[in-house]
Symmetry: C2
Amino acid sequence: MKQASPNDMMEMLRRYDTWVFDCDGTLWRGQALIEGVADALQLLRDLGKKVLFVTNNSTKSRKAFKVKFDQLQLPVDQAEIYSSSHSAAAYLQSIGFKKKAYVCGERGIMEELAAAGIAAVGGPDDNDRRLEGRPVEIDPEIGAVVCGADPGLSYFKVTYASLCLRHNPGCLFIATNTDSRGHFIEKQEWPGAGATVAAVQAVVGMEPIVTGKPSPFMLRDVCAAHATTPDRMIMVGDRLDTDIAWGHATGMATLLVLTGITGRDDLAAEWGRPGFQRPDYVMASFGDLMGISAAARAAA
Amino acid sequence: MKQASPNDMMEMLRRYDTWVFDCDGTLWRGQALIEGVADALQLLRDLGKKVLFVTNNSTKSRKAFKVKFDQLQLPVDQAEIYSSSHSAAAYLQSIGFKKKAYVCGERGIMEELAAAGIAAVGGPDDNDRRLEGRPVEIDPEIGAVVCGADPGLSYFKVTYASLCLRHNPGCLFIATNTDSRGHFIEKQEWPGAGATVAAVQAVVGMEPIVTGKPSPFMLRDVCAAHATTPDRMIMVGDRLDTDIAWGHATGMATLLVLTGITGRDDLAAEWGRPGFQRPDYVMASFGDLMGISAAARAAA
């Protein structure tokens, strides 16, 4: 395992015209921007690169992510943002889903479903609901359970979701993603959508349909909207099991950054393991791209 | 698949002198005793059989289960009852555990840990705790996380448990059991310990040590206390993946009853599948044993 040299960075810039970024752990941690990242993104834009942001964070809608980018003073167009909350709604829309969705997750999923014209119940509105020692009546109109990261995860919601899946015929089990943990705050990793999905899955014994990374559905959606193809794209992210796996599964090049979930030791432990799908490039931080800023601008 | 005939029932009575019963779904559902079961248990006692009760329900302590038996007017000695809450405490005691335990589960686990002299925190006392947008401080003295069925399952508890497991060196991950669902009320199946365990496991990526059925630890504990051996024992239960699997794994005979989780259709679907471990006997309800009551008493 070696980190990308200045030559490697110049090569990446020559080869790829669409740069796809993960957000948490790659651009920021919690509310704090990672050093150098804002300048490195601006460098890409100045060099004429297409820049897209694909996050498995399901807690916000695309619109709410735009606000976060604005607060961090990262220039972005809302159409450049893909969240797993959006992917779940886009998936249901793509199959002509007409029923109601029950959400085990945050407001972002509710907003994206609403934007796609899909009625949604549950979510944060159910955070304080409790079981009362008698059978729960479920809404027979619910045709999908959508699970994401849920700071309001509760026994009630897991129960309601599992009853919909077991008793409403054909009810779909959708996972925005299955990330184990996320940097919802800067200094600690808290449970991700994986916890919500695993709890429901353990009760119902069904496999979920995953719409976020590393699902190919997410890439199809991105490529269609931006008229690009995987061979021109490089995926930049901090997680092996979503970001890098997604790149490998879809034919994008991959750049792992060590500012998030995957640490240097984690990577070293995986590197020699048989069958390990190595990222094409590794950088300590994406901000390190600024080391070749002058050379890249001169070469452009 | 065929149900036990009167001859089969007589054979079971001849062969096995220790009868091990699951509780929820076998003896009762929620607060309701299953018809005929009280008389069938009395028949076994009258015939001089040893009768034991081994439940994966972790919500109660042995003492609290005794109260439940009393309320249902089922005669029982507390020493005949084995709960998965007890098994977790007995396991920690057996390895000389001296630190604190964090509980994602019900009062029963806290009580059993206390009875074993193990300090425990969390459990129902943490039901209303919420994350506050800043790092959670975990108690460095916590050396085990014990997960069971938890009607107070919350994001806070999953977070706290995962932080203990990831940051307290050597912290043990104990599951009382991994049942997907349980009849905590009569008319609906609600999430079991499997949901709690799966949520934490998804966050930390560790395998739990399971102390309840189908773990061999649970049987060792029972056999030692009652001076019996698996070849003299028959396990009566409603679940293939815990009760029947436990019997197969430990050398007990197995009798599946259809009054709980496993329905006639579920069983028919599994029966022909390659590798399916068939129960030795199947009865619609354990109460059906009363059909041979007179013959059995006459033969005794």
